[in-house]
Subunit: 189 residues, 2 copies
């Protein structure tokens, strides 16, 4: 039996990522986000949504840039910390033992310890309500060889990214690959 | 060792959902999408990105509405089929044995067999390149009691949603909850 329930963001799963940024005359900061998605393949563009009151919101507005860092499952504590502490009160890089590395294309730092880093240049900002939507064109991608297979391609079983399930407010690990895109060939039979 | 690799959509994991829609004088259709995300909490808004040449693109433009349907892990074949066949050639509802149910708020059908359905009204469309970005305000949420716990809240272990890992082009199952948002209280120690 289906029920009509209170409206909310019942989308599962979403990515759980650490977004790094810097402002003008401010130390670099990290914010954990799950309101993140791919919005275009070519050019490659991602969206991130940030509340206007968040410290990182101002930094990203000032610099016009951010980096999406994909954490591994064993970086869950760092991920959660960066979603609950504020960069106004604490230097998250220093207190978490994380290393900011200057971006190659943008004025935002990468988190060295995360295996995948997407340097993004802000191409649009739109107010939607409690969140502002930032669209970021991916202008450089860095990947740790430790998460690549022998052909140099991403291996998800080595990466072990973290999924977020809104409403349940839970982080989930991934279990196993259950199929490759197109495996049915468009036919059920 | 980090490597600078070819630019691309290296975001993990993304949701794998079935989006249903209808046009004017055309049968309802289903398109599988992974370029989907939450973009605002209040009002609740999701984004979906669709290539302009896709059949569903025209239907969503015409109706100004779509429904995001979250499939269970055991609906993987239906999910993949709807991502590879075109609604121009085949009635996906009929051929997959799925049931269109009229939306309560929008001119787009729900997929009855999916446990969660988000009725969305298009509030903005933006061309980004090979994909157009549609922003959809969630105006109604339907949930199967079979994926709720005894308090009426979503239970992810009952839902068993499907994750997509771009670039690897793999569907992944979820394993287990590894933490609740805020579990560190913003402190690593």
């Amino acid at each position: 039996m289906k029920k009509l329930i209170k409206k909310g963001t019942y989308l599962f799963p979403t990515p759980a990522v650490m977004v790094s940024c810097t402002g003008i005359g401010t130390p670099p900061n990290i914010i954990t986000l799950a309101w993140v998605g791919v919005v275009c393949s070519e050019p490659p563009v991602v969206s991130i949504s940030v509340r206007p009151g968040r410290h990182s919101h101002r930094l990203i507005r000032e610099s016009g840039a951010f980096v999406v860092n994909i954490p591994r499952e064993d970086q869950l504590r760092e991920l959660d910390c960066c979603g609950t502490a504020s960069g106004r009160d604490v230097d998250k890089f220093a207190s978490l033992g994380l290393t900011p590395v200057p971006g190659s294309q943008v004025a935002a730092p990468l988190i060295k310890e995360c295996p995948v880093n997407l340097e993004c240049r802000v191409i649009d900002v739109k107010s939607l309500g409690v969140h502002d939507l930032f669209l970021g064109e991916i202008v450089a991608v860095h990947m740790d060889e430790a998460v690549m297979n022998d052909k140099g391609n991403i291996d998800i079983s080595l990466l072990r990214p973290i999924a977020y399930c809104p409403q349940a407010a839970q982080y989930w690990s991934l279990k196993e690959a259950i199929g490759t895109y197109g495996f049915t060939g468009g036919k059920l039979g």
